[in-house]
Amino acid sequence: MISDDVKASMRAICAEYPTAQSGMLRCLHLAQETEGYITPAGMRAVAAATGARLDEVESVITFYTMFHREPVGAHVIKVCTSISCYLRGCDDVLAHLEARLGVRRGETTPDGKYTLKTIECLAACGMAPALQVNDEFVENVTTASADALLARLERGEGVAGLGGNWNLDNTHTTGNGAGASSDAARAGARGGKAL
């Protein structure tokens, strides 16, 4: 439900910009977070907050791939299929997930738990293949770790914090040693954990 609080948040977002319409994408994200997808009520609330006409809002929604125009599963699994992930086996991961979930890409499982999608390069090419569950990263995915991932989701555990396995380890050469170990790198911002 788009509550009055949500509407107020939308207005506050729009107020951060020189024009209210600039808040469009953030308001749409908010509408989607609130209701799972962009509902007619969500669209109307965004139109009201941004001062845009409904047809403009619709036009914007359809341009961007992140907005769901229909209900989706509780877990939206988005597998990157762009070049770097492709080179490291994303097609196998995708096929494996299709088989495990019994749906094809773009579809939602009948129980409404999972939606499987493909997505363009996620800026995780160094940890390819990569995927997202809702908006959280899971990296260096193998068919085995994909199974572990599904098990984790079945157990009701989230995946936040699994991504960000950054390797910027310049110590492999006779380098200046400015970098600490790669473990430290992971600890740097957010520990990238194994599944």
Binding site: P40, M43, R44, R53, L54, D55, E56, V57, E58, S59, T62, F63
Partner: protein, 787 residues
Amino acid sequence: MAEQPREDLVNLTIDGRPVSVPKGSLIWAAARKLGIEIPIYCYHPKMEPLGACRMCFVAVEKMPKLATACTTVVTEGMVVRTDTPAVKKGRQGTLEFLLINHPLDCPVCDKGGECDLQDFTLRHGPGGSRFDVSKRHFAKPIPVSEQILLDRERCIACQRCARFCQSVAMEDGLAMQERGFRTEVGVDPAAPFDSIFSGNVVEMCPVGALTAKSYRFVSRPWELKKTGSVCGLCSVGCNVRVDVRVDKVLRQYSRPNDDVDDGWLCDRGRWELDAINSQERLRTPLIRKDGLLQPASWDEAMRLVAGRLREIAERDGPGAVGGIGSTHTTNEEAYLFQKLLRAGLGTNNVDHHHGRFPAAAPGAVLPWAWTDSIAGLERASDILILGADPYHRQPIVDLRIRKAIRAGARVHIVTPEPNRLDRLAATVLRYTPGHTGEIARALLNVVTAEGLTRGEFAAQRAATVEARRASVANDTPEQVAETAGIESAALRALARDLAGAEAAVILYDEMATREPSGATLAADLLDLALLTGNFGRPGAGVGPLMEDNNSLGARDMGLLPDTLPGYRLVADQDARAALGAVWGATLVGEPGQTYEEMLGGGVKALYVLGADPARHLADAQLTHLNGFEFLVVQDMFLTETARRADVVLPAVAYTEKDGSFTNTERRVQRVRQAMQPLPGAKADWEILVGVARALGLSWRYLTPAEILSEIGRTVPLYAGASRRALGELGACWPLSPGARTPEGRPTVSGSPFLTWEMFERGVAPSGVSGATGAAGPELAVARGREE
């Protein structure tokens, strides 16, 4: 032709030919000037350049890549070529791309024959396609509105339609959806496309993606006869091209006259053509015999009309006959009608159904008319819409207001009902219907009481200002808030906005003057404009929005009991003498009966031309209509009034005759015959000539052009008017004869806005017969109080 000053012109060559165009012009426009066609899809001269379709490639010296002619501004000394191999390959490439997903269904496509894709492929395209994989497919045509169908397969994503809806009409409608190769245009189901401007997208679509239901599979364009004319529906008078197939008007397209319509047309003008094509139209004169209307010959009918009118006039005096004229017929016809009554039957009993404007004060020459122009709206900083609904009643004026809004104008909507412009307005105020006049007085109250008067006019007339202040002293916004249910503080703020505006236009509906409180509405608003300095220059002004296509022309032509053509009073001896000399008649000096008086039974014989008073009368008054000794109705249809007539004379539609209309901005424009008259019916002017001759008058008009030339000689506001002088685009009165064109064609010059001097001095150029030239006293300020 007026040349631009040198420094504003840019010189370049295209394909080796030199051309000079104004600074800021696009290469496309420069090429057009040379008659060089550069194909375009996404570009539309009335919208910002987009550069999306990549069709208009040209080669420009020193530019490494091909340039798009629709986005590249000319520079001094630029060398452009439109015929290099690279240009040809670029255009071919784009056409090939457009065609890969475009169905080759030209044989069944309505656009076939007038499709830019077809035409440009012929002239610029590749011989064949190398595309041998599968095309994208969409479900067949989907309705996007009540009247428009969309074939997504045919769409070339030029965005013209979406950009029109978004940025010109500024209304919900077609929008771009999806992206990339999945791009389509569409309508959000929650935001239906019900704009009155929707049809423009059909006209703009360069391919057959958007088609009108009414025209689908009806005709091929080469079967159509196309005639440039003027739309006959509302008082805007958009210029149109009437497309006729055999005996049916299939559609009207816009024929751009930027000052009037900016190249657009509303859906009424485009598609509301049922009346013209109706099977119900009258095809023979009818005469009441044995209580029933029965077919008769023209000869018999006209002789009967003339005989009975003469008989009653001779028996009971000329005052026993009268005529009610039309706001739809041409100027020529309105002129002949009052001439028939005044000169032929000797009575001033002539009027029509119109707004109620206090009679022109003695000596004042100009009537109530919009003192600015439609195009002038673009230069306004503020526009007040008081009790008017241009979206529904004068749609293309509404569209121009939207353009003004884009240019920065603030719009103030003060109307009883919600208005389509509310969403875009700076002020929105509602009030109880019927109280428009009080609101005008309240605005005047604030301006005079708070000392907000501005400008020379007010400065030089302290006493007048004081008189006006006193006259509206009680009409405070707070007072009016009680009676009219309007927010007083906002009304006060609005008056201050108008007084402080750089240039404000005040528009009201002609019909608001008929409200109980509206008797002095016109005068009060004129004063408001005068006293706030919003007068006498483009972008500032005041005036009524008229009702019908020739509401103003009907008044101009003297369909009024107290004024002759051109608003000269019947009481004016000189005016009467001058006209009488031309007409070969002695004219009566007594004002005649009004519309209400005649319909109330003040005359015994009534001639109703192109009007249906039964529609406007309360049931109780209707009985009077049955009480006339002789009632003649001239119309296209058997109207409620005609059913009660003794003689019915079948008239034709505006598409079936020549003539002129005068629109709400005082523009006199030519209407041209686009089709054969309906067999059995005649043009109103022809019928009038017939009746006049049956009356024994020696009228010899063979064409409407001759009548217009007579108007040009006898009506000062129309001085110099003639079919040739009005040309394709018309001119706003007061007209004065202009210089001849190099080809020897006469011209007239018009007045896009009225100054106070024009009001005071009168407008008739000297030497024109009937000109009074009398200096008028202060018009509204004095007269507003006489009521």
